[in-house]
């Protein structure tokens, strides 16, 4: 499809490519402001404890120390829903919880001062299992969260925020079923997306009312959207730095932010808070834990007649917005499993483990990874091929769903079964699929198995975006859009859209820094929304600017504005390019023209991702290797093929496909400590372990905007874990209902240990 466009659909160098390969790209820890102090955090050694006494006198007197903060002297800002995350507290709720903050002239000085703080703790009983946490008599973790179960709903996504999936008549649905199955599946390995760059923030109070934040977020603007209400509506300017990986986790980046802001306030100096890797493991964003008990009714033809269950979601000791993750997860379940009768009841629980946060897959990966293995039991009973089942049950034009806002949305997108079939053809599904519990091949101790999973998201149209496009008389354009760069190439993608609308060379379109002071409103890069939402605003702004340009040019060229065209900074009457005038002849050299664009939430389109996995399991050792992955999607129109392929390759790590094989955070349930909080013991895929990976990307025009494109990056990993679990189960002929399928679990399933 790229043929009809000048830039869209073609591989073009990222705008920041040279900065990245020469080392000049500025990440948060590369920035030093004049007079900047370094903030460090004293962290709790206990999973649940109360501070009985805390003595900071020696730390305060230590050379170079400018402030020591404890729960006694921090500002009263409090975050979370319901409010449960103060800047610092007298109760510690996980190993790594913040006890005290120090700002000093050097990092070393700050670390040393932390060791001079005397703390006497009273240890409290802790609870780590989400169902145990909800039982009577369980330790209470937050005063405002009685029974350790979060109240439902979330103020910022609307009054009716989706809290459950209830529709139709489940009893009737079960009566209509040919097969009824039930089961329990847990996706509770709470993996860490673990971007290479740890999270960090620099805070600077310009004066009592003006706060500036530098943040390593994938959504600089989100830091303002969330931060400003939290900090008492101060005037807050947020500047995004180059982001060294996020995968959702650095979305709002609130915890390091409030610590830096509090220290900057106390000292009157800029303060940088930058986590080390140990803190990144212990005190940032793990994936949600998920466990589901579900009952499914299906017919012989694969129609799902009823789905009911209880979905336990474990957010650990605190949550930034887990209710929204639950809501989106519930919406996404409906996209992949068309069913008229639902009763799925989520229960969002806090425990004394390290907190979960926002992670790519955002509730949906957690729900799918635990629900699809139960669906597999039902498919097996009915003797259904999972590919056919998913093709049949993925949302179709004319269907609808309750989205996160609790409203019913009629789906107006495309049928994705063509992409699913194309993926299956490339994978060779027809030959490799031998039936449930049957290996594709057996070679001695080695068994090959295949599996498939599916997922999609209607958040591709979530929330609002605004953009300005400013035309300069020299034939160049500047895009004002508060988009950060965390690796998805979005800053380059939106420049391509502007260049396409204005028919300019790419090097004549620049984008402003992600700075909330110079840019209009932006929600941020979440939920694969960049292509559709940010894109729509940007396209509209470029078209608006072009319209204004043609109004000025029309009298000069003696033509009507609608008969004009522009290319490479020249304007001409359509069909008469010889008589072109440069923009400056229309604009004059003392004028700029600014076009505006805005996008409003639209949940009526969704994306779709199908992952096929082929594994080889050694039944003697229990080791499972991922041999091959095929990722199939339809994105409407590719913006940049290499950027998109890279995003799909990213489904392996960032707490994605590999969470079915080896990625997990291992908690010692005696001490509450993470046992593998370093990059040797936390396992990750290396260059030598790469499977074969093929992307199948179709381009069926999707009614989004001018370029008929939608985003898909965020959901890429989400169907992976259940696909791998299915593949392993088929390889060994035994069902596995826990993640990750490590050798011990596989040998146990085989009855060998």
């Amino acid at each position: 499809m790229g043929g009809e466009y000048r830039h869209i659909g073609k591989a073009t160098p990222r705008k920041d490519a040279r900065a990245i390969v020469t080392g000049s790209a500025q990440y948060i820890d590369d920035i030093k402001l004049p007079g900047m102090l370094y903030g460090r955090v004293l962290r709790s050694p206990y999973p649940h404890a109360r501070i009985k006494n805390i003595d900071t006198a020696e730390a305060e007197a230590y050379p170079g120390v400018k402030a020591v903060l404890t729960y006694k002297n921090v500002p009263g800002w409090i975050g979370g829903v319901p409010y449960h995350r103060p800047v610092l507290d007298s109760t510690m709720r996980f190993v790594g919880d913040a006890v005290a903050l120090v700002a000093a002239e050097t990092v070393e000085g700050a670390k040393e001062a932390l060791e001079l703080i005397d703390v006497e703790y009273e240890q409290l009983p802790a609870v780590y299992d989400m169902e145990e946490a909800t039982r009577p008599g369980a330790p209470q973790i937050h005063e405002r969260i009685p029974g350790n179960v979060f109240p439902r709903g979330f103020r910022s996504i609307g009054e009716k925020a989706l809290q459950e999936i209830v529709m139709g008549d489940v009893d009737k649905g079960f009566e209509e079923a040919d097969f009824i199955t039930e089961g329990t599946c847990g996706y509770e390995n709470i993996p860490n997306p673990l971007p290479p760059e740890p999270p960090g923030v620099i805070a600077l109070w310009e004066d009592a009312e003006h706060l500036t934040i530098y943040t390593t977020s994938q959504s600089a603007a989100m830091n303002r959207n969330f931060g400003q209400p939290l900090l008492g509506l101060v005037d807050m300017r947020v500047i995004g730095t180059q982001c060294g990986g996020s995968y959702g986790t650095k979305n709002a980046n609130m915890i390091p932010m409030v610590h830096a802001v509090a220290l900057a306030k106390a000292t009157g100096r800029p303060v940088k808070v930058y986590f080390n890797k140990e803190e990144h493991f212990n005190a940032y964003s793990l994936r949600l834990g998920s466990r589901i008990h579900a009952r499914v009714g299906i017919k012989k033809d694969g129609t799902i007649t009823a789905l009911e269950g209880e979905w336990f979601v474990d957010t650990g000791a605190a949550s930034e917005m887990a209710q929204v993750q639950v809501a989106v997860g519930c919406g996404e379940a409906q996209l992949a499993l068309r069913c008229k009768n639902w009763n799925l009841q989520p229960k969002l629980v806090c425990t004394n483990r390290n907190p979960s946060g926002v992670v790519r897959g955002f509730g949906g990966q957690e729900l799918k990874s635990s629900l699809l293995p139960i669906m597999a039991i039902a498919m097996e009973k009915a003797g259904l091929d999972p590919l056919e089942f998913f093709k049949k049950n993925y949302v179709k034009p004319g269907d609808g769903y309750y989205w996160r806002d609790g409203l019913w949305w009629d789906y107006r997108g495309i049928d994705f079964s063509k992409a699913m079939q194309k993926g299956a053809d490339v994978f060779g599904w027809k030959d490799k699929w031998k039936g449930w519990g049957k290996p594709t091949a057996v070679n001695g101790n080695k068994r090959i198995g295949v599996g498939v999973g599916v997922h999609g998201n209607a958040d591709i149209g979530e929330d609002e975006s605004e953009a300005y496009v400013k035309l300069n008389s020299d034939g160049r354009a500047v895009l004002h859009s508060c988009v950060s760069e965390a690796g998805m190439g979005e800053r380059s993608a939106v420049c391509k859209m502007v260049a396409e609308v204005l028919d300019l060379p790419l090097n004549r379109v620049e984008i402003t820094a992600p700075d909330t002071m110079v840019n209009p409103f932006e929600f941020g890069l979440v939920g694969s929304r960049g292509t559709y939402t940010v894109g729509s605003a940007v396209i509209e702004a470029a078209e608006d600017a072009k319209r204004k340009l043609f109004e000025l040019a029309a009298p000069v060229l003696g033509a009507r504005p609608e008969d004009l065209e522009t290319k490479d900074g020249q304007i001409y009457v359509r069909g008469n390019q010889q008589k072109a005038i440069p923009w400056r002849k229309a604009m004059g050299i003392t004028r700029t023209l600014t076009g505006q664009g805005r996008f409003e939430t639209d949940f009526s389109l969704c994306n779709c991702m199908m992952i096929f996995a082929e594994v080889e399991v050694d039944v003697e050792t229990g080791k499972a290797d991922l041999l091959r992955v095929v990722a199939a999607t339809d994105c409407g129109q590719i913006i940049d093929p290499l950027v998109l392929e890279g995003q799909l390759h990213g489904s392996l790590g960032s707490a994605g496909i590999d969470t079915a094989l080896f990625e997990e955070t291992i908690l010692d349930k005696d001490t509450g400590r993470i046992m593998n909080c370093n990059m040797i013991d936390y396992k990750w895929r290396t260059f030598v372990d790469l499977p074969q990976f093929q992307n199948v990307i179709l381009e069926t025009p999707i009614p989004s905007h001018r370029f008929k494109a939608i985003g898909v990056g965020e959901v890429a990993p989400a169907p992976g874990p259940s696909a791998v679990l299915m593949a392993i189960s088929n390889a060994i002929g035994k069902r596995i209902m826990d993640y990750p399928a490590t050798p011990d679990r596989i040998l146990k399933a085989l009855g060998r240990i």
């Binding site: 591989a11 160098p13 990222r14 920041d16 490519a17 040279r18 990245i20 390969v21 020469t22 080392g23 000049s24 500025q26 990440y27 820890d29 590369d30 050379p63 070393e108 000085g109 040393e112 060791e115 001079l116 005397d118 006497e120 703790y121 997306p193 673990l194 971007p195 290479p196 760059e197 740890p198 180059q242 982001c243 060294g244 990986g245 995968y247 080390n276 890797k277 965390a486 690796g487 998805m488 190439g489 940049d640 290499l642 392929e645 890279g646 995003q647 799909l648 390759h649 990213g650 392996l652 790590g653 960032s654 370093n678 990059m679 040797i680 990750w684 290396t686 260059f687 030598v688 790469l690």
Partner: protein, 180 residues
């Protein structure tokens, strides 16, 4: 919890005692830096710290700071080394290359590996990129036509989380004259 390591902490804060004042010299990207131990460099400073914080070569990235992710890789006398696991005081007289040293400063021309990484979009967030490019350079300098397997082995210690592995391999193969 009782106070701990209090004296140790104090000891570490004063850096000159015990170590004779001594200059060490590092040549970084062709430029000579004289550093005084006890003043510019503490005995416990890693090379990664010195390069970034003392000398301003912030293209050197620190991710794990424990020798397990490869982000901080630099070249010492042409060998790829983890600068977070190397003490600066061990590097007296060494020739060090960071990512900033690959571009031809006179012509502005990028090293072929840098250009290949751009052409293949062989990065996403870019945080692991400097270390990977330097390891690839060390490999190609020794073995100009490595196989795909040799490239993978060379890069096994580099953590990339975005999933740029496949394009990284393509980019390096292109420079090695084996690209498709």
């Amino acid at each position: 919890m009782k106070k701990r390591n209090r004296d140790e902490g104090r000891k570490r804060a004063t850096v000159t005692g015990g170590t004779a004042e001594k200059n060490i010299s590092l040549t970084v990207n062709g430029k000579l830096h004289e550093l005084m131990v006890g003043k510019d460099v503490n005995p416990d400073h890693t090379l990664a710290y010195t390069l970034r914080e003392t000398l301003g070569y912030t293209g050197v990235k620190i991710a794990c700071d424990h020798g397990s992710c490869g982000a901080c890789t630099v070249l010492i006398d042409g060998e790829a080394v983890l600068s977070c696991m190397t003490l600066t005081v061990e590097c007296d007289g060494k020739n060090i290359t960071t990512i900033e040293g690959l571009e031809n400063r006179e012509t502005g021309k990028l090293h072929p590996l840098q250009q290949a990484f751009i052409d293949h979009t062989a990065f996403q967030c870019g945080f692991c990129t400097p270390g990977i490019i330097l390891s690839a350079k060390a490999l190609l300098d020794k073995s100009p036509s490595p196989t795909e397997e040799e490239i993978k082995q060379e890069l096994a210690g580099h953590y990339c989380r975005c999933g740029s592995h496949y394009f990284v391999i393509k980019a390096i193969l292109a420079v090695a004259g084996k690209g498709r």
